[in-house]
Amino acid sequence: MLEHIELFFKSIFVDNMVFAYFLGMCSYLAVSKKVSTAVGLGAAVIFVLTVTVPLNWFLDQYILQPGALAWLDGNRETPELSAYADYDLSFLSFILFIATIATMVQLVEIIVEKFSPSLYNSLGIFLPLIAVNCAILGGSLFMQSREIETAGLALNYGFSSGIGWFLAIVAIAAIREKIRYSNVPAPLRGLGITFIITGLMAIGFMSFGGMLTGGEDAPPAPKAQTSQTTIQPAIEKEIETTPLVVSE
């Protein structure tokens, strides 16, 4: 239970799709002029992420991972005995994931149109857009690369990253509605100021980074991956070179 709560808050705030990884920026910038449309797109993203991440989790577990095909001859528990133990289809994951996403988006569109025309009318134009929203594919790829363990956690991850994205787009839409009345320097109007505001919001969201470390005993929550990988080499190199200079 605790891991569910932790993953939930981590995906919304610490690893926010928009502010930590810049996923789904295209639609984030294009559809954030009004709060009402932003809410529609945000809801659609939550919905599609919640459906596709667990689905792709099953694909990953039962088809793509090295040795995942072991269930074919009944050796799911002991993959090393299976005749399929050596099969590694993980290079196919991009194509399978995107196919699942495109199909699901189409399916969701048909189902929503049939059973809830009012929801369809409010989401309608956004649904097809979502198939090519990086946040959706990104959700599945992060699910795969972070090796999320159970289907429940995958469902949780999809749902909570969706909420994170929703929060981000609604917040920027609200700010953009207000900023129309401000005196922004002409060349910055529109796109430029939106970029800079998003940057400032991302700085704000970075303060959530320490939220889940929970004291000294608990393992530190992995912060935004991108920043970690980039800072690391710089520090290492400094350490490498110091003895050299000293010997001189």
């Binding site: 930590a20 290079f91 991009f94 995107i98 198939a131 090519v132 060349p187 796109l191 998003t198 190199k237």
Partner: protein, 215 residues
Amino acid sequence: MGLLSKKDTRLILDPLADDNPITIQVLGICSALAITAQLKPSIVMAVSVIFVLGLGNVVISLMRNIIPSKIRIIVQLIVVATLVIIVDQVLKAFAYELSKELSVFIGLIITNCIIMGRFEAFALGNGPWKAFLDGVGNALGYGVILIIVGFFRELLGSGTLFGFKVLGDSVEKTGLYAIGYENNGFMVLPPMALIVVGIIIWVQRSRNSALIEEN
């Protein structure tokens, strides 16, 4: 110059400045920002996108008359996904460290809006040679922004370029550091990518007032 007519040259040169995919068309920002903390991954990303977009545009353009318009999105996605798998496998084979660093962002070229955008807007309506030029041009425009952002973020953030200490040694206080210069560690963090792109847009639009938006 028999190969490129004047019109063809425009196809390549326009996206580099006044029709830039990132700063003007607002396409492909997703992956552009996350990997620009250093120069090297930015260049690798730019080259990968040039490859995928150039070839993808040709393939789609060759198939433009046989793709049923109802399922064209799926066809386009499959074409891109195939090309991206090639890039991913090549990177894993020849530059494993780099491919680890780029992690999911190579995969995310598939949903890079530049690619779908150019397929829809250009490749579906033009011949293969033009489509190729358009693809390369737009990918170059994307790459230019990536390299500018990567250059400044690495230079100001860690004082290096491609890992070489161009500003002197920050620990030993040589070079610029001797007169009290400090690295701005903030530049390597994700939010600064957005602000740097914002500044690029600002500079570009101040130079060319035709690009200024109404609101």
